[in-house]
């Protein structure tokens, strides 16, 4: 397969179809939600609405097997879909359920679990959050201490989870819990699906550096969870989680977003609000970043080619994650330089999709500072850049 050949015509027809749908389905408010997205999460209500619209179209979970609501698209079609959504400024759909939990449920779940949970995930009637990290367990996730003790047909869960994105909007949480303290850490972890309405659960949202609230800490005090909500075998949770982590790393196409940031940079450079005009090095730094984005795009295409050929990209998704997130940070830095002082005003209200009033920052720069701030988290979540480099060292270089 030749990765750089122009794609055949039937993909172009597919692209036209996606464009036509997006033109119809995206309301001005949804587009504003897309434009004002400053992290992986769009405005919650907009993201939820968009997921339900996609579901109604039959595109709610493209990557799932068709019997569970997937579209049967190949890798290229999926890429085109994501690219067109980004170009049309669609908001990011509420995704923890579809992108993270769904593949796990389909892979490890019982028939009863699939029937019970998959429809609510794809329709977004249920909103899921991920309970992995704990205050004492970040990169060393296997050291987690939240316990689940068996008590008849139930587990009794005690402990706390943190960095639980969107927990304050969620009615379900999937959790890693300790079910055996006697064995090595990875071997004593189980995967539980927990109803957030269960007595004993408290959610404490807290603002991030950009002043917005996406993150929460979740407390569990004698929370009773039916054994039927165990995903996979007891003490098999680490295996389930590893599958999920790989999905989180490999399932992203960074260059779609990076190319959008790049065109923003080019637009800003040519506009009168560009504050970097007096900096002769600026255009060169943008051009070098553009070249690095080209290199990453071609690398993603190579990985896509090997996926199409049935290979497992394995540790190479770590390469893409490191490079993609660091390039995103570089773009955010260049944008903040071009915006200068005009990016510093902080008006939380203007980020809401329904807001149409005046802004203190120029319209092009209302998200710039928040994007820059939030870009710092990208090399931390989903396995830090250091963890990824460790994976490359171990699994690619054999060190």
């Amino acid at each position: 397969m030749n990765a750089s050949n122009p794609i055949p015509t039937d993909y172009e027809t597919f692209r036209e179809g996606v464009r036509a749908f997006l033109k119809d389905a995206l309301t001005p408010e949804l587009v504003r939600a897309g434009e004002r997205t400053t992290s992986v999460f769009s405005d919650f209500e907009a993201g939820r609405k968009w997921q339900s619209i996609l579901h109604a179209k039959g595109w709610g979970a493209p990557e799932w097997p068709m019997e569970h609501g997937g579209t049967g698209w190949d890798i290229q079609q999926h890429y085109i879909f994501l690219e067109e959504c980004k170009l049309a400024n669609a908001p990011n759909p509420v995704m923890m359920g579809v992108q993270m939990l769904g593949p796990m449920l389909i892979h490890f779940g019982t028939e009863a679990q699939k029937q019970k949970f998959l429809p609510g995930i794809i329709s977004c009637d249920d909103v899921w959050c991920q309970g992995y990290s704990e205050p004492g367990s970040g990169s060393d996730l296997a050291s987690l201490k939240t316990t689940a003790e068996r008590d008849g047909d139930e587990y009794l869960v005690n402990g706390t989870k943190i960095w639980t994105s969107m927990a304050h909007h969620s009615n379900w949480i999937f959790c890693l819990v300790r079910t055996n303290k006697e064995v090595k850490p990875q071997a004593g972890i189980s995967f539980l699906l927990i109803d957030m309405a269960t007595p004993g659960i408290t959610v404490a949202p807290f603002p991030s550096l950009d002043g917005e609230v996406e993150q929460c800490q979740v407390f569990f005090e004698n929370v009773r969870v039916p054994v039927a909500n165990l995903l996979g075998e007891e003490n098999q949770g680490w295996t389930v989680a590893k599958y999920l982590l790989e999905f989180e790393r490999g399932g992203q196409h960074f260059t779609i977003e990076l190319k959008k940031q790049l065109s923003k940079l080019h637009r800003l450079m040519g506009s009168e609000i560009n504050r970097a005009k007096g900096d002769p090095t600026y255009a060169y730094r943008v051009a070098e970043t553009e070249i690095d984005i080209m290199a990453l795009e071609q690398t993603e295409l190579r990985i896509k080619g090997s996926l199409s050929a049935g290979d497992n990209p394995g540790a190479l998704s770590s390469l893409v994650k490191v490079s993609g997130t660091e390039l995103g940070q570089r773009c955010a830095e260049l944008l903040i330089e071009a915006a200068g002082q005009s990016a510093i005003p902080w008006q939380s209200a203007v980020l809401a999709p329904e807001y149409t009033g005046d802004t203190a920052a120029p319209a092009e720069c209302i998200t710039t500072m928040a994007e820059y701030i939030n870009s710092r988290a990208t090399t931390i979540y989903g396995g830090t850049a250091e963890i990824q480099r460790g994976i490359i060292a171990k699994h690619v270089l054999g060190l």
Binding site: N2, E386, L397
Partner: protein, 369 residues
């Protein structure tokens, strides 16, 4: 990671790699270069027999008609095995310059048979650029005369013929000059990359048969030569960069300090991970540039320059890191890794610098999706 090659490309790579691995020994190379044999006639004959010189020549001119991707496969191996013979120079000249000569078929047959080793002579001292050479070609009733100087021509020591870029009455011109002709002075000097360079002075009369191209054709083939040479220098840099990384990984697994292998230290592991990440990103861009060339795409010029920028940047960083991670041994002449470093450094400024490539990249229009 998959390189996405066709079966024929895989076969070319495997065959070439086997030949070089069996026959291109680093210590033999060191001894040979030390006595001023920069291009080994036996090696050149073998390259000829393997079809490498016919590879970039189109089929209607009697060659194998293969493309940039195949040339890049050989260039990468030249980097990996530190080949000092002017293979990438010859391939680029055959493909982009000699093919425009009215005598292309006869000339290229001699190249393919190994009797002509052509190298392009573009650079001059002083203010001259590739767009404004001071070397002068004049015509007087069917007789041509070339005067001027070319400086620091890589592999100039090994060339049998130069394609000299000159100014003529009708814009640029390419002139084929045998290096041993009367009216040509060649000053050969040893080089840090083992290739053997030379500077040339010309005051020579030539007949029509030596004029390869003038005017618009000369200008177009200059551009084609530079872009192909950027890709091949990037590919050779990539091969040397990967080899420097591989050598470093192997060495840090063997070398024991503080009672454990160097490779067990996280500070070094992460640096080697960075070397791998950047090398793979470079690989993607080099292959994409080849694909753009072979598909005749209009964005080839951007990709060629992007590959040059990326390869020069990454080659420098990775080969510097390779030396640092080895320690003292890498600073000795008898150890291979410093030779990758030196060849990569020489390639950085061959044809154009990273900065020139970046400026040219910025001047080219972006293809809109």
């Amino acid at each position: 990671m998959t390189e996405q090659m066709t079966e024929d490309q895989t076969l070319l790579k495997v065959t070439a790699e086997r030949y070089l691995s069996d026959n291109y020994d680093f210590n033999d190379r060191r001894e040979r270069v030390a006595i001023g044999t920069y291009s080994d006639p036996a090696q050149w004959q073998a390259f000829t027999d393997l079809g490498w010189l016919a590879l970039p020549i189109s089929e209607d001119l009697g060659g194998l008609g293969l493309g940039a991707r195949e040339m890049a496969i050989l260039a990468e191996l030249c980097g990996q095995f530190l080949v000092t013979e002017p293979l990438i120079e010859s391939m680029a000249v055959s493909h982009a310059i000699l093919s425009n000569s009215p005598r292309a078929e006869a000339l290229l047959m001699q190249v393919a048979e190994g009797t002509i080793i052509p190298v392009a002579a573009i650079d001059e001292a002083g203010e001259a650029t590739h767009l404004s050479p001071t070397s002068q070609l004049t015509e007087d009733s069917g007789q041509w005369h070339l005067t001027g100087s070319k400086k620091w021509i890589s592999a100039g020591a090994s060339a049998t013929h130069l394609t000299v870029l000159a100014n003529s009455g009708a814009g640029l011109a390419w002139v084929l000059v045998p290096v041993d002709a009367d009216g040509v002075t060649r000053d050969i000097y040893p080089t840090h990359d083992g290739r053997g360079g030379a500077s040339f002075d010309f005051d020579i009369s030539l007949d029509d048969a030596h004029i390869i191209a003038t005017g618009e054709i000369a200008q177009d083939s200059l551009n084609a030569y530079r872009e192909l040479a950027m890709v091949l220098s990037s590919a050779e840099t990539l091969g040397a960069t990967q080899a420097a990384l591989d050598t470093t990984v192997d060495y840090t697994k063997q070398r024991i300090q503080f009672g454990q292998p160097l490779s067990s230290f996280q500070a070094l592991q992460h640096r080697m991970s960075n070397m791998l990440i950047q090398t793979e990103l470079t690989r993607s861009l080099v292959y994409a540039a080849c694909d753009a060339a072979d598909a005749g795409r209009t964005d080839f010029g951007r990709f060629a320059r992007a590959a040059k920028v990326k390869a020069a940047t990454v080659g420098r960083k990775v080969s510097q890191e390779a030396i640092q991670l080895h320690g003292g041994i890498a600073t000795t002449d008898e150890y291979i890794v410093g030779h990758f470093f030196k060849r990569i450094t020489a390639l950085e400024s061959w044809v154009c610098s990273k900065g020139e490539a970046l400026q040219e990249f910025m001047a080219l229009p972006t293809a809109q999706h």
